[in-house]
Symmetry: C2
Subunit: 265 residues, 2 copies
DNA sequence: ACCTGAACACCGTTCAAGT
DNA sequence: ACCTGAACACCGTTCAAGT
């Protein structure tokens, strides 16, 4: 029974009776598609880490053999690209509409601030995925992580252009902005990863975590507590504001003396 | 003929007769040690890429079975850590002496500039290794890539401290500086990697490299040429100078009104 | 049409065995 | 003392076979 093709209808196609299978998320043994696979891969990376993700384990987390995945995904590399794309796409999803980064802003500064906060939210939501966002080879040579989609770069350049930036200034701003985002966010998620991996291996004492001996390093010793404090959020905001100040300066200098183009790195 | 081992004695221990084995670097089948293995691993990554590095292939590049490596290296992960350490260490090697970054500078600005140039030289010399430098979990949670050694952080903080920076200001400077270095250099080597991988797969036309259709993206289309230009070096210098300006401002503000500590991110 | 079993080539790693 | 062969468990991926 239950002779079904995929088009429409047909309940009880999923007549499961496997008992307590509260594994990940209901793990239905059927109804595979690329979207569901990507979602599963992201969840998997989020809580097991990138290194643990294999085609076989991913299949099993979906209640399926690894070989079944190849009907929807060309291979592991493409799967990882899909993961990156899907995570970056959530920049647009959860705001009001799709155009939130394209037309729906109060000036270019507001646009850059919201874009930065959006990327940071993504990085913190998926700290184990972010290194992938940072290091996968981009679609075009001039696409700079973490601003990985043509659509995003287009909207970035368009916003600055409409605000009066010259093309060279807008491109320079794009480069400076992406460097800032990548540096800050990658370091922030690396720190999260380091803390997690410390908790994972409580080898020996639970408290005295085998602290490296700092007696050789007086400056480290003296500032150890300061070094341990997490000020990522405040530092992010301050660096962002500093960058915006630089860009504003470039824009105004160009407007006043329109002889030469303000360059910045 | 020309049987030469490096120490002394024992010729024809290496009585090879395998014909044209001008593979990597003479591939002597014996005389293994950890240092030689790390060197071989770096060379391997430099010209085959990180993904291609396996214990078996690394062994074979040394004229030895993979299993022989385990006498000198606990495993692949440790090997990669060793690679990172060794590459970062070359910061100190090729200047005059060991203390070039510790005492041998003309003021803290000069120190920061030379350190930045040193790291950039490393990144450009080993673009395929740098992502590893960027993303390996650091020794301590507050060690921020690419400034990966305690010794380096110690000298950084000491230099700024001696120049009059307060401890919080020095730590904030360390964070801002590492973010800057990581963002810039990782993006620069990513770009190099992207160009290489484009050359590797000349699928179809040699010239018309399947350029993505940009008709949907007017701003990309208009700035395409600008986007393609490589200004990494100039941008690096300008961002570095901007950072130094910020730090100078913090230092002087703290000196004038020594009531509060200048914070920066 | 969709999934699986079996197979292939390749991994990292261990260990008894060779020299 | 140092390296190798054989073996183990696990990969990604292909493909004929099942339903």
């Amino acid at each position: 029974m239950a002779t079904t093709s995929d088009d429409e209808r047909d309940p009880d196609l999923i007549a499961v009776q496997e008992g307590p299978q509260a594994a990940q998320e209901l793990t239905r043994p059927a109804g595979l598609d690329r979207e569901r696979i990507l979602k599963a891969a992201i969840d998997f990376i989020d809580d097991q880490g990138l290194a643990a993700l294999t085609m076989r384990r991913l299949g099993s987390s979906l209640g399926v053999e690894a070989m079944a995945l190849y009907r929807y995904v060309p291979g592991r590399e493409d799967l990882l690209d899909g993961v990156v794309d899907r995570v970056v796409e959530t920049l647009f999803d959860d705001q009001d509409g799709d155009d939130v980064f394209i037309t729906d802003h109060n000036g270019w500064q507001d646009y850059l601030v919201r874009l930065a906060h959006g990327m940071r939210r993504i990085a913190l939501a998926h700290p184990a995925v972010f290194p992938l966002i940072a290091s996968r080879p981009p679609a075009a040579p001039w696409v700079r992580p973490p601003l990985r989609s043509l659509r995003l770069v287009e909207s970035f350049l368009g916003t600055l252009h409409d605000a009066g930036f010259s093309d060279p200034a807008a491109v320079a701003a794009y480069r400076a902005y992406s460097s800032f985002l990548l540096g800050h966010l990658l370091l922030e998620v690396t720190q999260i990863g380091a803390q997690v991996s410390l908790l994972d291996q409580p080898e020996g004492d639970p408290e005295a975590q085998e602290r490296t001996d700092l007696t050789e390093y007086p400056n480290l010793l003296r500032t150890e507590q300061l070094l341990g404090q997490d000020k990522s959020a405040a530092e992010f905001e301050e660096s962002l504001e500093n960058l915006l100040d630089r860009l504003e300066r470039v824009l105004h200098e160009a407007k006043n003396s329109d002889g030469e183009v303000g360059d910045l790195a």
